[in-house]
């Protein structure tokens, strides 16, 4: 029996302490420079929850900071990169020096795995990956357990790949709005998040605004994810900074660039970045104080409003 607690609102510190554990499979929300769950990521780093398997489609800034902090054992994803801002340097370094295991998929294959997970199915067919090296292990041998090539029983000439369901232990997502019982509204693009959230055993949502359940009930067609899937709601204005939150604020290229400069060079610059911006901050608001100011945040807000 799933109980509906009347109030799932808690601090990021409480949410991470309760729901993110060493060795977890962590589903990562956001994409590239959009809606990365930075406040929740910082809290995981602050609590040094390690040995994580980070899963998602595109993994970018939040994943790379976890990698920089040495908390990632493995990733399963479609890409790691930040497009115009370069690659995810800490992740790349971890893969190249052997501290991070990787399992590559295409974006569609990853979302198909979440689709199987959210529907309670053990696998999902997909017609991508055929003929590619993604199907195989790094040594070129068939990789047992990753994917199975099978025939269409109704047309044996047709082949499909079966990929295995993925149900993260916990997913972290930054959304625009949520209510206290955990109904979540994602505005604009939603990437792989709906499937991933519904597939997860636990979901922590940070949000720009807490709305009343009456507001949720007034527009039930706007609810992206109903409360059953969500275990903690963390109210954090600018919780995706320096990435953007659609309809709220644009990304901050300067701050993303500052992180990338440190990540590109590696130690000690990256350790110093994390020390100042994460471990040196008691909360994400402290980080915002350090990394930006009210004028800049207003500018980012206006930049987004101008695009609406």
């Amino acid at each position: 029996m799933l109980v509906m607690p009347p109030n799932k609102v808690m601090t990021a510190a409480e949410a991470v302490a309760r729901f993110v554990h060493p060795g977890n499979v962590l589903g990562m929300g956001g994409q590239n420079i959009g809606r990365c769950p930075m406040a929740l990521t910082h809290e995981i780093i602050r609590q040094r929850v390690g040995g994580l398997t980070v899963v998602g489609c595109n993994l970018s800034l939040s994943m790379d900071q976890l990698a920089a902090a040495g908390l990632i054992r493995r990733t399963e994803c479609g890409t790691g990169n930040l497009e115009r801002f370069g690659t995810t340097f800490s992740w790349r370094r971890g893969i190249e020096n052997g501290t991070i295991e990787i399992e590559d998929y295409s974006h569609l294959a990853m979302v198909s795995r979440f689709l199987a997970g959210e529907m309670g199915l053990p696998f999902m067919p997909v017609r991508s990956l055929l003929g590619s090296d993604i199907l195989w292990a790094p040594d070129g041998a068939p990789k047992p357990g990753k994917a199975v090539i099978t025939e269409n029983p109704w047309d044996p000439a047709e082949r499909v790949v079966l990929v295995r369901a993925l149900q993260p232990d916990v997913s972290i997502v930054h959304a625009q709005r949520a209510d206290a019982v955990g109904n979540v509204i994602i505005e604009g693009f939603a990437t792989h998040e709906p499937e991933m959230m519904r597939a997860s055993q636990h979901v922590i949502v940070s949000c720009e605004e807490l709305v009343t359940t009456d507001e949720i009930r007034a527009h039930p067609e706007r609810t992206t994810i109903p409360f059953m899937y969500v275990h903690a709601v963390v109210v954090q204005r600018y919780g995706a900074f320096p990435t953007s939150t659609y309809a709220y604020y644009d990304y901050d290229g300067g701050q993303i660039g500052a992180y990338q400069d440190a990540a590109r060079t590696g130690s000690p610059a990256i350790d110093e970045y994390l020390r100042r911006h994460v471990w040196g901050c008691g909360t994400f608001d402290d980080h915002l104080h350090l990394a930006t100011d009210a004028d800049r945040l207003t500018t980012l807000t206006h930049a987004m409003q101008e695009l609406m």
Binding site: G30, Q31, N32, I33, G34, C57, N58, G78, T79, G80, N81, L82, E83, R84, F85, T87, T88, W91, R92, I95, E96, I102, D104, Y105, S106, H107, L108, V111, S112, L115, V126, R127, S128, L129, L130, G131, S132, D133, I134, W136, A137, P138, D139, G140, I149, E158, R159, V160, G188, F189, A190, T191, H192, P194, T243, S244, Y246, Y251, M304, L307
Partner: protein, 271 residues
């Protein structure tokens, strides 16, 4: 490698590469597109000869009217006035894998003789030298589009005989390769570079030179290609840009020169 068309406005080879890529799109095409030069070229096509080209972006964006210049698939400038903002499954599953995308348009990494693409790693499986970003939606586009358009800077290391790692399938090992692994064999590839346009030879499946950038010779292209591309019988030169088109590219599509390189934006005549 000099350009000698003094009656036209000066233009860079990168600009002409984007313009030539835009020319590959037909009005009404539904194009699955990433950021960077593919989005620049697609936006240019919309603002010139193909206003009803429809963009689809992997973050869940359908039919936006892109504002200059998005630097990411999740940049709100890439979502401006979209007809729908949805999910990755809706665009990669219900449009792309469903067969409703006409053209997949990707930027380059490694591309080999048979148009296989590597965006995963330099060095073969088991002997990686450099990790690259990975597939993203590129494997999905190469698996499901009937037409794949690639835009990339032309240099030897980008065009190996055989990719170290096949992230996204072209024709694999040649004729019949796609059918043998279960991929749709109805597939065509066009690669637009700053030196030439290459397309798959319908018979051999290998990339061959079909057009040359102004002032570029077949030997110039071969010198920068890791395999030896054949030459199509009807080899032509890429036409120089209309002044109007060039103006649109510079002033409407990437006015901040985010992707258009400033160093060769207005080349001197002797370039």
């Amino acid at each position: 490698m000099s350009r000698e068309t003094p009656h036209l406005a000066p233009f860079s080879r990168q600009e002409l590469m984007v313009i030539e890529a835009a020319r590959q799109l037909r009005d009404g095409d539904i194009v699955f597109v990433g950021t960077g030069l593919p989005m620049l070229a697609t936006t240019l096509a919309q603002r010139t000869h193909a206003p009803d080209v429809v963009m689809v972006i992997e973050s869940g964006v359908i039919a936006p009217q892109v504002r200059p210049t998005p630097i990411s698939v999740s940049d709100p400038k890439a979502m401006y006035r979209a007809m729908k903002l949805g999910t990755l499954r809706e665009v990669l599953g219900c449009l792309l894998q469903r067969g409703l995308i006409d053209v997949g348009f990707v930027g380059g990494a490694q591309i080999d003789r048979y148009a296989n693409i590597n965006s995963t790693q330099i060095g073969p499986p088991g002997a990686m030298k450099r990790r690259l970003p990975g597939s993203g939606g590129a494997n999905d586009m190469a698996s499901h589009c009937r037409r794949l358009l690639i835009i990339t800077h032309h240099e030897k290391r980008r065009f190996p005989e055989r990719c170290d790692y096949v992230t996204s399938p072209g024709f694999l090992d040649g004729p019949g390769g796609r059918a043998r692994v279960g991929l749709n064999p109805d597939f065509a590839v066009t690669v637009v570079t700053d030196l030439a346009v290459m397309e798959n030879d319908p018979r051999t499946c290998a990339l061959r030179i079909v057009r040359l950038m102004p002032g570029i010779t077949v030997e110039d292209v071969r010198a920068e290609t890791g395999f030896r591309p054949d030459v199509a019988p009807d080899l032509r030169e890429v036409p120089p840009p209309d002044a109007e088109v060039l103006d649109r590219l510079r002033h409407d599509v990437d006015p901040g020169r985010v992707y258009l390189k400033s160093e060769d934006a207005v080349p001197t005549a002797g370039r």
